[in-house]
Structure formats: structure tokens, C-alpha cells
């Protein structure tokens, strides 16, 4: 099955909200850009019923190049994690039992 892309989200806005396609595209771009910039400023995002995006600070740790065996250190960094909300979890879970 093919993936849902921004272009298809634009299509949905066009169909469901009767938005002009150019405006819909600009909005979808703006929405994801906005989420990036919120996460960038160090805030998590919570969508009730959908899920939460959290930031996690990872400490520096020793790593190894699996090819050469060389030891180096993995720098401390910040990563984004997503945890699905209860409603989405249940929905996805049920989609499994329906298909199997």
C-alpha cells in the first residue's frame, strides 16, 4: 500500500475543507514547519487522542565503528520521540485484529 504524503494531506484538505490547493499546500507545509519550530525551541507537543512528541536528552556514551572496531564517543544529543495516545493505540490495535 502506498504511503500517505504531504501531497495526499493537501488532497484531503481540498476535499474536506474545500480549500484551494495552493492554500492547502501552504497550510500543510506551515503546520509541519510550525511543529518543527516548537520542538526546536525545546517544547514537547501533546495532541490528545493522537499522541505526544517528546524531546529526550541523550548523554554522551562510548560507541564503536562496527566495521573497523574503532572506539569513539557518541556525542550528547537531543532526540525526538513519539508516543501514540491511547485512542490511536487502540485504533491501530483493532486494525490488526480485523485483518488477521
Amino acid at each position: 500500500m502506498n504511503a500517505l504524503t504531504k501531497a495526499k494531506l493537501v488532497e484531503r484538505l481540498f476535499e474536506q475543507q474545500k480549500l484551494n490547493k495552493r492554500v492547502a499546500k501552504a497550510f500543510v507545509d506551515y503546520f509541519f514547519e510550525h511543529m518543527c519550530s516548537i520542538l526546536e525551541t525545546g517544547h514537547s507537543i501533546k495532541f490528545s487522542g493522537f499522541g505526544n512528541f517528546y524531546l529526550r536528552d541523550k548523554t554522551e556514551r562510548p560507541g564503536r565503528n562496527p566495521k573497523t572496531g574503532e572506539v569513539y564517543s557518541v556525542a550528547s544529543r537531543r532526540v525526538v520521540t513519539f508516543r501514540a495516545g491511547h485512542k490511536l493505540k487502540v485504533r491501530v490495535e483493532q486494525s490488526v485484529s480485523a485483518s488477521s
Partner: protein, 119 residues
């Protein structure tokens, strides 16, 4: 930041659409993602990240107390993999040339940020 906070911020900054339309559009996007995952389709948003479903096969597990063996049910979990741009931006690096740069004012101190990280 909650959904309603995000929506009100969008409404303030995005004047091309009336406020109530912005709210509905956010719902359409989130519902679009959720329903695609429901159909086990991947969601790909360049720059932000991808959502996909991870299917865990049933496996045999053992109750450590009674020693009883049983089969776990198959599990489907939503998995989000951040995109390259998002990964770099949360680390204060490589703020990519974005069409909407002028809307955000908090991004001026990146060079300092990189310096303290690399020490």
C-alpha cells in the same frame, strides 16, 4: 504545548485562513495520519519524519512464577522516525532554509549552541 495552544499560535501567525478553518485543518491532518496508520500505510513527511506501524509477531513467553508457557498476542505499535531536518534542528544545528523562517524569532543563537556542544 497542547493541541489547543498550537492551534491558537497557528491562528495568530497564519492569517491566510480564518481561525475556525485553521482548527478544522489541524484535525483533518491529524485524522489523515491516524487513518493511514489504521490502514497500515506509512506516513512520510519530508523534513519532519515518517510514521509507520511496527508489527510484533506473537512469541512464546513464560510466566516466571508458574513456569507456564503461553503465546503473546501480535502487537502493532505506531513508530515515528524523525526526519533529518528535525533531528538537526532539535540539536540547534543546520536550521535549513525554510520558507517560513521569518515567522520565528527564537532561532538566532544557533552558532553559540554548536560551540558549547562540541567542547
Amino acid at each position: 504545548m497542547t493541541k489547543s495552544e498550537l492551534i491558537s499560535k497557528l491562528q495568530m501567525q497564519y492569517k491566510r485562513l480564518p481561525g475556525e478553518v485553521v482548527e478544522k485543518c489541524v484535525d483533518v491532518i491529524l485524522e489523515g495520519i491516524a487513518s493511514a496508520l489504521d490502514d497500515h500505510r506509512r506516513v512520510e513527511v519530508r523534513g519532519f519524519g515518517n510514521f509507520s506501524i511496527r508489527e510484533w509477531q506473537p512469541r512464546f513467553a513464560r510466566n516466571p512464577e508458574t513456569g507456564e508457557t503461553w503465546r503473546t498476542p501480535p502487537v502493532n505499535a505506531v513508530y515515528f522516525r524523525p526526519g533529518k531536518e528535525l533531528k538537526m534542528r532539535v540539536n540547534g544545528r543546520g536550521y535549513a532554509e525554510s520558507k517560513f523562517n521569518n515567522h520565528t524569532s527564537e532561532h538566532s543563537d544557533h552558532s553559540e549552541h554548536i560551540e558549547c556542544r562540541e567542547e
